[in-house]
Symmetry: C2
Subunit: 456 residues, 2 copies
């Protein structure tokens, strides 16, 4: 029924009305894995590690190179490029009605240490490729279309994710730009200044990054690899993301008196590494105890000091990622974690500190944007499923200010944040085809599937 | 009875026979905490971290500076200085009978990362101070006395302890000098060459470091801080070390497929950090299960990758220090550790590797050297106890080739390998007084306490 309605959709190409299904066929022919893969391979050369891994931390030399490449590709796709104060980079294609709002699509280009080539890059290069294909096929948008590259979605340099999208959407607390330093003690403000961004204070970054007219964004769509195993396991091509899980970061530090590994008898010790080991197992237990597959908890960072075989540890700092599609359930695991830390520290006579570094909201996606993605997936012949995003994305912040949804493609073995992260070229292409057809619907004339454009 | 016999001991000072108890009184007056502390403070400035910590890794710029200082102080104490191929540094005071053998005493000057000012330094500077005091008081040794500084007792740079004393005593397997690299991938041979040591291969280092006439060493004495809490807890001033515990290093690496901390459901994970947490608790259990206070096991190093809060770990490498005064009991804990690693890896579907990096012998100290220390401790009025060394020392290798014993002084709170490592100046002084009086007995004419000088 939905598909049937969509076939009524039309768009203007060289003055002729063309059915959406014809546009779909043209996009499938135009957007191929072969073309895309050479761009991903090129971008992956701007990396501080050897392939297959990619390491590109925000405002590193490699990141600045990658930004230049992306701006060049935006210009080659006919987009007019501008950057905001934080380095969020926009490539604009002016629509026929400049008052009709903006359809925005994009993702990030920074990576974790030893990450892969597609996390972020797919949505960033995919946005440019989708726009390029639509232009080549003569599509004329009514709303303006903007491809965007967000600054530092990854927390790999400054411990806090999505700084660019937090800045644009008013969620950025300026003090985090000063408080969280990279491993060399450099703050975001210092790092941004070092590569030529000119705002001098955290407050100035936050003030100037904030979108002046967030209501202008009629829709936001982010294409991304799944970073989980569900699509592959179920034989699906496209995930239509209707919610993004609510993440949180808990930091626990246990301390003890340390001592020589030979000299200090077991009975005199208060070894923080053993306290941390107990806590890690208790956190796993708490996550499993909800019975919900959406509850995940990860002791991702384990920093043990002095970290030499013959010294009893003096401190262990743990960064613990806890997230869920249900905020109350997530908060229950956070509470169990904090309580267990206290109980274990008391039992083992260790010192401890507890800190809830952040807890972000659940993002709920917009039905009309979801419908446009569904229509696009059906038209390109993709097997799709509605799903939640377990990973957090810039889309989660955009969803707080604009109608938003995400498009997922399969991740081989569910891997991401990993050098072996992989998505087959045909799946990359299918994602970009669906994205192109989605933004065509959202930016073009109204249709049965996207009937109320004023809301988009 | 023992003390009474000792009073018969005499030594030659300016041609006059003087009773050992008079020498003792003179040494107590001469060797003071005030004089010593300024030398320790000076040495501690040659450090790659700020006080109170000391970081001085072998063949670093700071270590080379410290070596120059120590050689200067040896020369100022009237010693003739020579270095062997590995940088073991000897300061010789020629005895009246050049065929009577050598009384050797010393320790190391390198430290762990964020160690303290006395671990190693006490025995090294203490040897020079003891010799200096004996010279000043006109003591004339029959046997030659050598103060020694051993190269890299700590495993902090190359993962393997006591490289210098292993080389001197024939325990050094040359391949370890090539195999074990520092964190920058530099081998011992490369690091030694970089600061001017000229041997070009590991084999050449091992061959040339080996003592040509180990039988010449009539006695070896090492003064050291206890690095444990026993002396302080029992209100003793001096520990007389009759055995050195047998250490071992087990390296276990768990691996898993990793993944995104949000994207990867709990049920898909094989998280190596959770395997490592289980193992750490099992190792603690195994060490406690022997019921012996001498059994200790420490998960000192925990290297988790990629070590970012939102990535499921892909690998965790553990370095585990297991030691005991009883070799069979220690080997039992090693076996339980290896078995538990295998069982946990299987249960959690993790990959794993196991490696026994080293297992050193128990060292048994020599009764005549122990008796000389006992006499000295009694004469200076120190409350002493016979004990074992839980920490490993160059003395453990020297004990395999020469009559050996160690002198311990208290460590505040049992702390070592720690910036808060502390020994009171009066305790430092008492240790050096006992050392001086011990080497006086061992190098001087025979006495009731050290009756058979040919065996020393």
């Amino acid at each position: 029924m939905l598909l049937k309605l969509c076939l009524l959709f039309t768009w203007m190409a060289s003055g002729t009305e063309v059915a959406l299904e014809d546009l779909s066929a043209a996009l499938v022919a135009e957007i191929t894995g072969e073309k895309l893969i050479s761009q991903f391979d090129h971008l992956a050369t701007h990396s501080d590690c050897s392939r297959p891994g990619v390491t590109r931390l925000v405002f590193s030399e490699r990141d600045v190179e990658a930004r230049d490449v992306i701006k060049k590709w935006m210009r080659e796709a006919g987009l007019s490029v501008r950057e905001d104060v934080m380095g969020n980079t926009f490539g604009r294609w002016e629509g026929s009605d400049s008052t009709a709002g903006i359809v925005m699509t994009g993702s990030h280009s920074d990576t974790v240490v030893l990450g892969g080539p597609y996390d972020g890059a797919l949505g960033t290069l995919g946005a440019i490729a989708a726009v390029g294909a639509l232009q080549k096929l003569g599509f004329k948008p009514v709303k303006s279309i903007e491809a965007i590259m967000f600054t530092t979605e990854e927390a790999s340099r400054f411990s806090i994710p999505c700084l660019g999208s937090q800045g644009m959407t008013g969620f950025l607390e300026p003090e985090v730009l000063d408080t969280f330093k990279d491993e060399n003690g450099t703050s975001f403000v210092e790092a941004a200044n070092a590569v030529g961004y000119s705002a001098k204070t955290a407050q100035e970054y936050a003030d100037k990054a904030l979108l002046k007219n967030p209501g202008d964004i009629a829709a936001f769509v982010e294409l991304h690899i799944e970073q989980g195993p569900a699509l592959e396991a179920e034989g699906k091509d496209i995930g239509i993301v209707e919610a993004i899980m609510a993440p949180s970061l808990v930091r626990i530090k246990f301390t003890g008196k340390g001592g020589h590994g030979g000299g200090m008898p077991m009975s005199y010790r208060n070894d923080p590494s053993l306290a941390a080991s107990e806590l890690a197992l208790r956190i796993e237990e708490a996550a499993l105890a909800t019975g919900a597959a959406e509850t995940v908890a990860t002791v991702g960072l384990w920093d043990q000091q002095p970290n030499i075989y013959n010294a009893v540890p003096r401190s262990v700092l743990l960064d613990i990622d806890i997230r869920d599609s249900d905020k109350a359930r997530r908060d229950g695991v956070i509470k169990k974690t904090l309580d267990a830390a206290e109980e274990i520290a008391e039992k083992r006579k260790c010192g401890h500190t507890k800190e809830l570094k952040f807890e972000y909201p659940v993002a709920t996606c917009d039905e009309k944007v979801l419908n446009a993605i569904q229509t696009a997936a059906d038209l390109v012949g993709a097997k799709s499923k509605r799903m939640i995003s377990r990973a957090y994305h810039d889309a989660a912040f955009m969803a707080q200010i604009a109608p938003t949804a995400m498009i997922f493609v399969p991740s081989k073995n569910g891997l991401s944040h990993h050098p072996d992260e992989h998505t087959a070229p045909k799946d990359l292409a299918r994602g970009v085809q669906v994205l192109a057809l989605t933004i065509a619907q959202l930016s073009g004339p109204s249709s049965a599937a996207v009937s109320d454009k004023s809301e988009l």
